[in-house]
Symmetry: C2
Subunit: 344 residues, 2 copies
Amino acid sequence: MARLKSRVTSFDVAKLAGVSQPAVSRAFTPGASITKEKRDRILAAAKELNYVPNVFASSLSSKRSNMVAVISGNLNNPFYSETLQVFVESIQRTHRQVLAFSVQDGRDSDDVMMQAMRYPIDGLVVTSAQMSSELVKLSEGLGIPVVMFNRRVVGSELSGVQCDNFEGSAVLGRLMAAAGARRILIVRGDPQGSTSIDRVQGFRSAVDGVAGVEIEEVDGESSYSGARNAMIRRFNGPGPRFPDAIFAVNDIMAIGCADALNENFGLKIPDDIMLAGFDGIREGQRAPYSLTTVRQPVERMVAETLELLKAAPEDLKGAEAQRRVIPGDLIPGHTVPGMGRWAR
Amino acid sequence: MARLKSRVTSFDVAKLAGVSQPAVSRAFTPGASITKEKRDRILAAAKELNYVPNVFASSLSSKRSNMVAVISGNLNNPFYSETLQVFVESIQRTHRQVLAFSVQDGRDSDDVMMQAMRYPIDGLVVTSAQMSSELVKLSEGLGIPVVMFNRRVVGSELSGVQCDNFEGSAVLGRLMAAAGARRILIVRGDPQGSTSIDRVQGFRSAVDGVAGVEIEEVDGESSYSGARNAMIRRFNGPGPRFPDAIFAVNDIMAIGCADALNENFGLKIPDDIMLAGFDGIREGQRAPYSLTTVRQPVERMVAETLELLKAAPEDLKGAEAQRRVIPGDLIPGHTVPGMGRWAR
């Protein structure tokens, strides 16, 4: 790549173009006030010198790069891609940018987080996996504010924003029990993940005490195919005994369950069996699914996350670490009977 | 934010920690060979000095930042969010990062692209909107390779990678005509967008000559709700005359059409009316939709895009500008009858 080997500054460009340095800055600022003629002259000078207007130019007054690193979970789950979308749009509105990272599974998360911290980022948002204490130390040493998103925060050092997974799932449990469900199958996500654990516990807190309730749990791998295959494995063979209701701890798994129940077993939902999910992804709200679910208030969670990032790193540590737990919104849907009474 | 006002270098950290400078570099490199004790010592020194390991440190040998800017269209269309996912995962595998930008509609695209070029990016991928000649000049002046993704390239200056939208749509047109469709409704996207134009033209090239064919076109705004509302507007009122077939130029609109036809008008697809889309988004492949469509070979398009970015900017200009047009994959689906014969 033919780039200049030593750093050319905006002053060099200004000199060559015969303009002031602020004019050079304006030439590279969208919407700034500058004539086309002047801008063209500056661009020509910049081209000649191979100038790179660097948001990271060695300014003695600020180390801000305007980049926020967002570490997403597996983007195959529409919840993560919809969340990334909200981050990209929200952060862009504040004239900053998202540096996007994706963690495929738990094993590469430390590497990915360390790679993020090699950039002069203004903040780090972690939407998947936990942060090892070594990495927490590194972020503090680098002065990078970190906020955990949709994770229960382990330890007391990090701030976090999450939806009230426990209570939202308890609401779904109460609805299913009120609709008459007694034999209930729970489809779990990552058995080590705080999100799945909280949702299972919240759901069970509502149904475990109800007379006649029997609960069974299976693993759905947090994915469409994981859940669909779990249904096929569980109910294949002569005369499978279907439960009254299935609670999948996220919508993408609920969709996998729905497709298996409809296509593989010819069941109708909710007539033959009830179904609920969690997250409120757009796909689950399309007419064929109309999932009964709890929507994570993603826009508000992102806004609170960006607010927490503004704080100095010192404020985000230890005793000052902030936890914001925001209630989700019940979406009545059509997959649990009797939702008409509950519709808002 | 409490960051040090002047730049601390890795040499300062090495001195304080009593190690070599390469050791400091290894301490911040994931997977590098270094003892835990040495790393902890280096991290402690870094913390004390408020050191920021900067991938953009003034190295005289390279200006590479390892960041690739990706400018997406409206992320509400699952095609753009699925594409962004492939970029994030593919680029991360090459130990680089995606700096993510999103264009809401045509009007802000120039501003967004200029904002991207303020960063010392290694390359720019544009998946929405065209690039003004002024911005092309700016990118050349800055030595930033630019590749247009899924866009027909206007002018001769830029390289681009796209799916064969024209031919893919012609295949869908031939299938619908062979299945007996004569009255056909086309649901367009952005009337100025090259993608929608190419798909409409390709589709029409296959059906316009068929005896008895009548074509009608409506606007679907490239969105789920735009298409759904277009169906409701078009077919409401006494005794609407439904066509034999509907071709929506992208899958998210086809899904909107399907939901309207099913829910609002009680029609069955394909028994009462045929439907086809384009893109091959995951959502359209779920059991309730099983769209007949053409899948854009996104993984291959992204790989070719990254290859083009490696070239020096000079090679990407003018006569050397490269256009790569990759055929899409027909997905037979269940929404156009007789697909059994065509299944691969």
